[in-house]
């Protein structure tokens, strides 16, 4: 229930201000403060990325992007996202389904567990996999003797990414599915539909926009994850560097234009994500879960 302030009219209207609004002075002050804050912390950083990338003109921008190491980083990032996002899509649906449609002991604990990656530092998320698969670990020697490389290789990066992005889909879907209850599914089952048919024709259409929303956020994080991936990747150029890691390496080598050029791609990804997210929210706000928190 937004009630915007309109002080129009004649006569007494201007003398008696609406009881639920601030003075013009306070209003402009607050808007000004908010806009300054947004400019300083959101708009300027974004502008900085693009400006710094174009510092030496679009020619050099394109040159640095065609560097083979950068290209390999882009490829790896896409590969990781292509594996991690569908995995979390499937398990996000399964988890939301289990939590929303069934009653069982330890449900609260399960919910907490799903949320856990959000409250754990990304570095710790990476660390747990180092402790699990590293050469000092229980599994380490066994993996080594069988020639299986997890840490400092693609599987480790995928695992860390899956861990970090696990909650996105499930968290979007749980409130949505809970709200819709089980009556639709029960109706379908009573009409003779099989479990899969019920899911495909009844459940999925009901949650598709929320699902898309969750996938969108999941993908943005999967491509942009830095801390967790940084810990497990080993930073091997051209092999285990994702785009965010490549940004770090280039930046630390004072190759600013190249760093910001790669950053530009990631920033564009973020902008596209924001635009799609806003569109989804505008069009399907009711079907997208009420929880706007992430």
């Amino acid at each position: 229930m937004a009630h915007d302030v309109t002080t129009t009219g004649t006569g007494n209207t201007e003398l008696v201000r609406v009881a639920t609004s601030e003075s013009r002075f306070a209003r402009y002050g607050l808007i000004g403060t908010a806009l300054c804050f947004v400019a300083l912390f959101l708009v300027l950083p974004l502008a900085a990325v693009f400006t710094e990338a174009m510092r030496n003109g679009p020619g050099e921008f394109l040159t640095v992007l065609s560097d083979p190491e950068t290209f390999a980083a882009i490829e790896l990032t896409l590969l990781v996202a292509v594996i991690a996002v569908p995995l979390n899509l499937v398990f996000g649906i399964a988890a939301a389904w289990a939590i929303a449609k069934f009653e069982f002991k330890g449900k609260a604990f399960l919910t907490t567990l799903i949320d856990l990656p959000f409250s754990v530092s990304p570095v710790i998320s990476g660390l747990v996999f180092v402790l699990l698969f590293g050469s000092h670990s229980l599994l380490g020697p066994w993996l080594q003797s069988h020639g299986i490389q997890i840490l400092f290789a693609v599987p480790g990066i995928v695992l860390a990414t899956v861990f970090v992005t696990f909650p996105f889909v499930a968290r979007e879907l749980i409130p949505l599915m809970q709200e819709q209850g089980t009556s639709d599914e029960e109706a379908a089952l009573s009409l003779g539909a099989s479990g899969w048919q019920t899911f495909w024709y009844v459940t999925l259409p009901n949650i598709k926009w929320g699902l898309l929303y969750g996938v969108l956020l999941c993908n943005a994080r999967a491509m942009g994850e830095f801390g967790a991936v940084s810990v497990v990747s080993g930073h091997i150029r051209g092999l285990t560097n994702t785009m965010p890691l490549q940004v770090e390496i280039l930046y630390n080598e004072y190759n600013f234009v190249a760093a910001f050029a790669v950053a530009t791609l990631l920033a564009l990804l973020a902008l596209v994500t924001l635009v799609l997210k806003s569109l989804l929210e505008m069009k399907y706000s009711e079907q997208i879960a009420a929880s706007r928190r992430h």
């Binding site: 607050l30 808007i31 947004v38 710094e52 939590i99 567990l113 801390g227 635009v275």
Partner: protein, 264 residues
């Protein structure tokens, strides 16, 4: 079946790795753990991480509430875009945010160069860390408070006015206390995120041991030194403190729900 899949996946991806951490830290033994956890550099790093996260969350509470208020209550050009922009920190990879903020606030940067003659240094000091954490934490406060603000019953404000309260009294004594649970939640989320934040901080922090070195970075450093016990100990301490704080906040909220019939 869904339950089985979910459980095995959770156990595989989340529970086993995390219990690995718990097992490793308990394997250290209490004495070793204590020595590692109370190492001066570790203590300082933890203090810096929690201190800057706390400061950033406080700043975000102030400006996040103002921003949410402006977005909910006022009409002005570009409002939609600003509203969408609030989610930028969710969508922008932290490394990108880190180098962008550093470019702005370094002594030779866009804003840093304006402040440098005044003797104000932001990047490469703990203040820089706070700035980065303000960036990553902002949407948590705004997005938690905004929906609750939208639901404020206009009648409540009018009731205060009919009882003689001026606008300032209405906001400070009626509206803001009503928002307190949501603000607290937003603060907790921003704070928790800030404590663990790594990517956006390491570029702007300067990373001087004892002064501007955050705990997650120290974990990475210990890992690179193959000092796994130290890395594990720092991680364990961070997790324990974070969980304890979240627990306290949850308890406050449960209490508020019981008492006032609402919470967030």
């Amino acid at each position: 079946m869904a339950l089985g899949v979910t459980l095995s996946w959770l156990i595989l991806i989340i529970l086993i790795p995390l219990s690995g951490l718990a097992w490793r830290s308990s394997a250290l033994g209490w004495g070793t753990f204590w020595t590692l956890a109370t190492d001066q550099r570790t203590v300082n790093a933890l203090r810096i991480s929690f201190g800057t996260a706390f400061a950033a969350a406080l700043i975000n509470v102030v400006f996040g509430v103002i921003l949410a208020w402006v977005l909910v209550r006022y009409r002005f050009p570009g409002k939609r875009i600003i509203d969408a922009m609030v989610d930028l920190p969710f969508a922008l990879p932290t490394a990108v945010a880190g180098i962008a903020l550093t470019t702005l606030y370094a002594p030779n940067g866009w804003i840093g160069s304006l402040l440098a003659p005044l003797g104000i240094k932001i990047a490469f000091t703990p203040i820089g860390i706070v700035f980065a954490l303000v960036f990553v934490g902002l949407p948590f406060v705004v997005r938690t408070v905004q929906p609750i603000m939208e639901e404020i019953d206009k009648e409540v404000e009018e009731a205060a006015a009919t009882l003689g309260a001026n606008r300032f009294q209405t906001i400070s004594r009626v509206l803001l206390p009503g928002l307190a649970p949501a603000v607290l939640t937003g603060f907790a989320l921003a704070f928790a995120r800030g404590v663990g934040e790594y990517g956006s901080v390491i570029f702007i922090a300067g990373n001087l041991p004892y002064i501007s070195e955050i705990a997650p970075l120290l974990i990475v450093i210990r890992l690179e030194e193959f000092n796994y016990p130290a890395a594990t100990a720092i991680a364990a301490v961070m997790l324990i403190i974070s969980f304890a704080m979240l627990l306290i906040i949850n308890m406050i909220q449960a209490w508020s729900r019981r008492r006032y019939g609402y919470g967030s």
